[in-house]
């Protein structure tokens, strides 16, 4: 086996002071599928961004085929035969597949883009690698699995010999994952080298030849995959034995808290992204919403929280219509919300921890002294929450942007949980954070449930959904296609068939989620 890539002593410090890579050595052999594993925040993406020229390391060197190279832009990475498929796709949604694939290297005819040629190129490429895509489809209409194929083709067209896939399976259903793996194996046969990032160990065992494990920015071990067990890997990843089982008691559902009735939403291109959606969430219950991203979950959440206006359907909280209430009024009625993207909605990164913690209640009398804010009260309140939610920081005056992802999420969670919500909407509550923070957040969600909060949990992480939810609905194409009131009777594979729209329950089965 010939070593095709070597990264030596890579150290990366981000402007906020987080050391994402600490003298990391990383080596990949030609023609292998090399898994890079580690908890969220371990520094995997950072290491790959350095390889792809998106970030510059503070120290360290990169060797390709034994020759030292300096990669200071993606352009140079591509020239050196490195391609990367990012965690978040970088496609232009309004363009076709073919246009996306040739973007920047368009075939031209008399100065204009030769669309026919672009389609030809795309189809030829798809044929060669046996990756089936519709060259003329508009990217925005494609399912996630398809977008991923487009990304892979894009990289291959630019001559990628080393292909980096950053958590490619995180957004896929089990069936799509299988398909992806077959494609990866074919690429391997054709002589490509693949770096495969994941923290799903079963997949790593299944697909990879070797595995590099990272923890807290350091390389903590490299193995032949066949020579280690999942337990060995997970121990090294987390630094201790982990029980991924979530401890929780049987739920005791009470009255219906949130009722969604016949909700329909038409997007700006005239497509319905929510079709007649109806369901209820009861107090003391966690209702999970499973589904591939982009099947209406975002619209649903934004409508319930008030971020998005709607006109068809009804929302009822405790039996009262809340359709036209402002976000503030909804919050006052007891709706809390952990947003999907914490940096966009969850926090003001430039503000202090304390300022972020009081954001939903700064107008309350207890935080004000006449016309001035009550600094002492804000301080004691912040200290209490920092302690209660184990937010690691130097003080409550620290800017939120200085914290790690897990601790930023804890700030959001601390605020949203401490208001004593009647209804909690948790949208991807543990995405991209470490196991410790994940455990804490799961525990707190269950605590809230046991105190009678109704919880609506949206997550792309099947494992999380299955473990945490009491009952479950599946969304596909803007509709509820399945309802399960007993999760012990469903398998991930079965869920997958619903998520892909291959199966749909009867109207009567789905209607049970209204409890009426």
């Amino acid at each position: 086996m010939k070593e095709i890539l070597k990264m030596q002593n890579i150290t990366k410090v981000y402007p906020n002071g987080i050391v994402a890579n600490k003298r990391v050595n990383f080596s990949v052999n030609e023609g292998e599928i090399h898994a890079l594993v580690g908890e969220n925040g371990a520094g995997k993406t950072t290491l790959m961004k350095i390889l792809f020229g998106l970030e510059q390391p503070e120290e360290g060197a990169i060797y390709l085929n034994g020759k030292k190279v300096s990669i200071n832009s993606p352009f140079i990475a591509i020239k050196n035969g490195i391609g990367m498929v990012h965690q978040h796709f970088m496609l232009v949604p309004s363009l076709t597949v073919a246009e996306n694939i040739v973007l920047g290297i368009e075939p031209r005819k008399r100065g204009f883009i030769d669309f026919k040629k672009a389609v030809e190129i795309t189809e030829e490429l798809a044929q060669k690698y046996n990756l089936k895509v519709d060259a003329k489809a508009v990217v925005r209409d494609l399912p996630v699995g398809m977008k991923q194929k487009v990304e892979i083709l894009k990289a291959l067209l630019r001559g990628a010999k080393i292909l980096i896939l950053d958590e490619p399976t995180a957004v896929l259903t089990p069936q799509e994952t299988e398909e992806l793996f077959e494609e990866l194996l074919r690429l391997k046969e054709k002589g490509h080298t693949i770096i495969f990032i994941s923290h799903k160990l079963r997949e790593v065992k299944q697909i990879s030849d070797r595995v590099t494990i990272m923890r807290h920015g350091k390389n903590v071990g490299v193995f032949k995959t066949s020579e280690v067990t999942e337990q060995d890997i997970s121990k090294l990843m987390v630094g201790r034995d982990v029980v991924l089982k979530i401890e929780k008691t049987q739920h005791k559902p009470g009255e219906v808290v949130l009722e969604v009735k016949n909700l329909t939403w038409i997007n700006e291109w005239g497509k319905p992204t929510l079709k007649n959606v109806s369901f209820s969430v009861r107090s003391g219950e966690i209702l999970g919403v499973a589904g591939v991203e982009g099947n209406g979950q975002r619209e649903l959440v934004e409508i319930i929280t008030g971020l998005r206006k709607f006109d068809k359907g009804d929302l009822l909280l405790d039996g009262k219509i809340i359709n036209n209430l402002s976000i503030k009024e909804r919050r006052e009625l007891g709706i809390s919300y952990i947003p999907e993207d914490r940096m966009v909605y969850g926090v003001a990164a430039e503000a202090s921890i304390a300022e972020n913690l009081i954001a939903d209640r700064f107008e309350k009398r207890e935080f004000n002294h006449g016309i001035l804010t009550n600094i002492r009260k804000i301080a004691s309140f912040s200290k209490y929450l920092i302690e209660e939610f184990k937010i690691q920081c130097s003080s409550f005056n620290q800017k939120v942007k200085m914290l790690s992802g897990g601790n930023i999420q804890k700030v959001v969670v601390a605020r949203e949980f401490s208001s004593g919500p009647k209804l909690l909407i948790a949208d991807q509550p543990t995405r991209g954070i470490d196991v410790g923070a994940t455990e804490l957040i799961h525990k707190k969600i269950i605590e809230l449930r046991d105190r009678g909060t109704a919880v609506l949990l949206i997550s792309a992480d099947l494992n999380e959904i299955m473990e945490l939810s009491d009952t479950l609905i599946v969304m596909f194409g803007g509709e509820i296609v399945a309802y399960f009131d007993d999760l012990s009777k469903v398998t991930e594979e079965e869920l997958g068939t619903y998520m892909l729209g291959l199966k749909k329950q009867s109207y009567e089965e789905i209607r049970r989620v209204l409890y009426a």
Partner: protein, 358 residues
């Protein structure tokens, strides 16, 4: 937190030093008496009480406009209508000062309140256009400035012009409306105390009241503010109204403190200067007087230099332009900052992990 403040201070200082250096170069190139010119520029303002008083006098309108712009910038509203609001504040004070006859104790405050009121109402226009129809406040406030200028000039020249004065000015203001001078032999007036009071009030308003909090959160992350339930549209409105009030107040104070008639035939430009002050002060009310003083000092210094030597006062524009450019350029000295961050991170790591990083 601490390090960031330090970094910003150093960055500003370096920007100022670089621009001063450029000015020195220019002076040495164009002047036949460079040392003379530079000494006038740098220490001229300190050489006489009257000159130093000039620095303070000029600081007053700069402070008002700096505060007005700062509060709007804090809400991320790039409303640059302070110029027009300031101008109309002065016009309003003129109207009150000429047409009414009241005891000083009522007349003077009333004139200032009238100026503030007009300023607030005027900047409500770009604000409401923004919050109702999402029209860029930058564009509408810029255009508003010119409308206000012609409107103000119209009022003064058609209704209040003193035809006997021999030049284009208004009738004299009633003496009961004028701000008293602080020191004989200078034009320094009591307006400076109003300016200081406004600095303190605005600081408390921004950092210690719920309204100021809402302004800052809206400015830092509007989506976040919306999501936690802050009425962002309302914040956008009142931040600009308050900005208008302060600018209008500044116009009234400037007129009543420095003049006995309305004499401006063109926009005085203090509103534009307010933008420079706000950028230098990082929109922090407590730093506004420092920035205003600095700007005022180099202006007066340059004036003295121009009067007594062969260097024109326009060199100040070079300083202003360079300082603003360097401060606005995010990546200016970013490398140095990153080195600091890395060094500290390494030290921390060294302490925690027994030195496996270095």
């Amino acid at each position: 937190m601490h390090r960031e403040v330090l970094f910003e201070i150093v960055r500003t200082a370096v920007a100022i030093l670089i621009s001063l250096f450029v000015v020195f170069l220019i002076v040495f190139l164009v002047s036949s008496q460079p040392t003379e010119a530079l000494s006038k520029f740098l220490i001229g303002p300190l050489s006489k009480v009257r000159y130093f008083s000039n620095v303070l006098e000029l600081s007053i309108p700069l402070i008002f406009n700096g505060l007005a712009i700062s509060i709007m910038f804090q809400a991320k509203q790039f409303n640059i209508g302070a110029e027009g609001a300031f101008f109309m504040g002065a016009v309003a004070a003129t109207v009150v000062g000429i047409t009414m006859n009241l005891p000083r104790i009522i007349h003077l405050p009333f004139a200032i309140i009238a100026g503030s009121f007009i300023g607030g109402i005027l900047l409500f226009i770009p604000a409401i256009l923004k919050s109702k129809w999402n029209a860029s406040e930058l564009v509408s406030s810029l255009m508003l400035n010119y409308i206000l200028y012609y409107f103000g000039i119209f009022i003064i020249n058609y209704y209040l012009r003193d035809v006997n004065a021999g030049y284009m000015v208004s009738y004299p203001l009633n003496s009961s409306v004028l701000l008293p001078k602080l020191m004989v032999g200078t034009r320094l007036h009591y307006g400076i105390f109003i300016a200081i009071a406004m600095i303190i009030i605005m600081y408390y308003f921004l950092y210690r009241t719920k309204w100021g909090y809402a302004i800052r959160m809206t400015g830092l992350n509007e989506k976040f503010a919306e999501y936690v339930g802050i009425n962002v549209k309302k914040v956008i409105l009142y931040a600009q109204i308050i900005g208008g009030i302060i600018a209008g107040m500044g116009g009234a104070v400037e007129l009543l403190g420095m003049y006995t008639r309305f004499e401006w035939q063109k926009l005085p430009g203090y509103g534009w200067d307010g933008i420079i002050v706000a950028i230098l002060a990082r929109n922090n009310p407590l730093l506004v007087p420092v920035a205003a003083f600095f700007l005022s000092y180099i202006r007066i210094g340059a004036d003295l230099m121009a009067r007594m030597t062969d260097v024109p006062s326009e060199v100040v524009s070079v300083i202003q332009a360079l300082v603003i450019m360097l401060i606005a350029a995010e990546s200016f000295m970013a490398k140095w900052r990153h080195t600091m961050v890395v060094k500290r991170a390494k030290e921390e790591f060294y302490v925690n992990n027994g030195g496996s990083l270095q």
